[in-house]
Amino acid sequence: MDDRSDEILVAASCEGDKNAYAALVQRHYRHVFAMCFGMLANIHDAEDIAQDAILKGLSKIAELREGVQFGRWILRIAGNLCIDLIRRRKRIKRVDAEYPAITQKAINENHDLHGAIKKLPKELRVPLVMYYFDGKSAKAIAERLNISHSGACQKIRSARQQLHELLTGRL
């Protein structure tokens, strides 16, 4: 794993070093995916949009003024693309033949949970999803979303409470 800082990797990417950009992807992809899944509540859509965001970042890396902000910047691109998709109300269908059985199985078994997650409002679903993808660190979520730690905790708390209400049929 490349241990150079984001700032250095961005600078190297701007110089044409694709391996540097790949290192940035390896470091940030999971958070981009988590953001997309949180926004869209659909794995296939999240995969597609996350990839689009990464490729858009590749084409626009020279416009990033502060390399240290790469994480937040790529998340904003992803969020923007998610909003575009939601606006277009596009459904992306895929043949699931190659889709890993384990994940589909997990969703089938947790259908109620997945359905409840989908019903959460976006502003709560995104931090909740990122929290569970990110090793349950509210501090990390706060940094990525550029909100306060207390703000992140409050959103995660509200998300958990609403999720419970949805699962127990009270909402």
């Binding site: 992809y29 999971r30 990464i54 904003r76 606006r87 949970l113 929290y131 509210a138």
Partner: protein
């Protein structure tokens, strides 16, 4: 469940997500030992937490494959071609030196223009010359329109230090040390001093030297245009003008046609207008006026300030303080920097009346400073919009502020109850 249970539900959710403090955990455990309903609630949330963890672990299991598909897609793309030499203006605009310059010494922005210019009258290069050669300078700075009656900032510059005073706060003096990245703020009436560490600031040993290097580099930039404005009478004086334009800023310099000395500089940057006037160069200075030592008999504090780190949250907190603490429940008429400067003495007086401790006063002051920095170093796209005049704190239907963050097509809209929503451009308040 009893009336405590509603509060305990929040505690339970925080406990399950691992964000509950030690103190609150003890309170919760005490409650759970006596409340079966809350115990049941806690158990349900814990079970759901396990299910959530399982679900996301299984989704995580595929992460490596997903990531590899993306890396494969990257392989077939090429990185955009970079210019072999990055425009000097882009380097300078990225540089915090330039950004700081606009804050600490407004005159820098006025000289970020140089275009070889031939004319029978004084040339732009000649007009700039005193600024290039000067070792000291004195000037007055006005933020906003001159007729608006705002306060005048008076600066004396020597090397890397600036001594700054405000016309509407006679007892306040700041010594800004750009080399050390520090400000010494003095209140000569209360005999109080505060050292402010400016985070994120690169050291600038010789301010005027850096200025000269910046100007020299800018000469090559293709995006600058300079327009001759001819001769005009301003405040009873005949002056010759030059307008220099760049996508990010517009600067007008007025000079004495006889001496070629710059007399007045106007800069438009974003939504701020800055006027520098009464310029004098190479004035002998008393070094003791720039001392960074706390005078005898003053109490002293130390604070840190990140000039460029103010967030939307800092801005919202500042709005809350202004409405709740300083303006009797209503939002201020304006959030522009020049209006803040005008209102600073009244706000300082109101803070005194609150009877706060020194520490509380400092904390409040720092919060308001970060609120101001959000506007001063606005990082969004285009302009921000404020509509909070006359709006009461708590009015959830009234949109009071909106802006577009960079790289987003939606706007962030702040409402009178200080909630925030992402709103599409077509749905913005009219």
């Amino acid at each position: 469940m009893n009336s405590d249970c509603e509060k305990m539900k929040d505690f339970i959710a925080d406990m399950v997500t691992g964000t509950l403090s030690q103190q609150d955990t003890e309170i919760l455990n005490q409650h759970l030992s006596q409340c079966p309903a809350c115990r049941d609630y806690a158990n349900e949330l814990k079970k759901e937490d396990l299910l959530l963890s399982e679900l996301f672990n299984s989704l995580n299991g595929e992460m490596a494959n997903r990531q590899q598909r993306v890396l494969n897609a990257i392989e077939s793309c090429s990185l955009p071609q970079q210019k072999s030499t990055t425009s000097i203006w882009r380097i300078i605009m990225k540089s915090k030196i330039v950004k700081l310059a606009a804050a600490a010494v407004i005159i820098i922005a006025a000289v970020l223009v140089l275009y070889p210019f031939t004319s029978g009258t004084p040339t732009f290069a000649q007009v700039i010359q005193p600024i290039l050669n000067a070792q000291t300078a004195i000037l007055d700075i006005i933020v906003g329109e001159e007729e608006a009656g705002g306060p005048v900032i008076h600066d004396m510059i020597m090397g890397s230090r600036i001594r700054r005073t405000l016309s509407n706060m006679k007892s306040a003096i700041s010594i800004i040390d750009l080399e050390a990245g520090k400000i010494l703020a003095l209140d000569t009436e209360k005999k109080e001093a505060a050292y402010v560490d400016l985070k994120g600031l690169p050291p600038m040993p010789n301010y005027m030297e850096i200025l000269r290097n910046v100007i020299a580099g800018l000469q090559e930039h293709p995006e600058f245009t300079v327009e001759e404005l001819g001769e005009r009478e301003i405040a009873g004086q005949k002056l010759i003008g030059f307008r220099a334009t760049h996508p990010k800023a517009e600067i007008i310099i007025w000079a004495d046609p006889q001496t070629a000395l710059p007399v007045r500089i106007e800069q438009i940057s974003g939504q701020m207008k800055i006027i520098c006037k009464n310029l004098v160069f190479d004035v002998p200075m008393d070094e003791t006026l720039f001392s960074m030592d706390v005078p005898e008999g003053y109490t002293q504090q130390q604070v840190e300030l990140d000039l460029f780190g103010a967030t939307e949250e800092d801005f919202i907190e500042g709005l809350r303080i202004r409405a709740e603490v300083l303006e009797d429940g209503q939002f201020p008429d304006s959030v522009a920097v020049e209006d803040y400067l005008k209102q600073a003495p009244a706000m300082a007086k109101k803070m005194e009346e609150l009877g706060l401790s020194k520490e509380e006063e400092t904390e409040l002051g720092m919060k308001l400073t970060r609120y101001l920095l959000f506007i001063r170093f606005f990082k969004g796209e285009g302009e921000w919009h404020y509509a909070g005049k006359g709006v009461e704190l708590g009015d959830a239907d009234a949109a009071i502020f909106w802006y577009r963050p960079k790289d987003l097509e939606t706007y962030r809209v702040i409402y009178g109850d200080l909630s925030v929503k992402d709103v599409a451009p077509e749905d913005l308040p009219k």
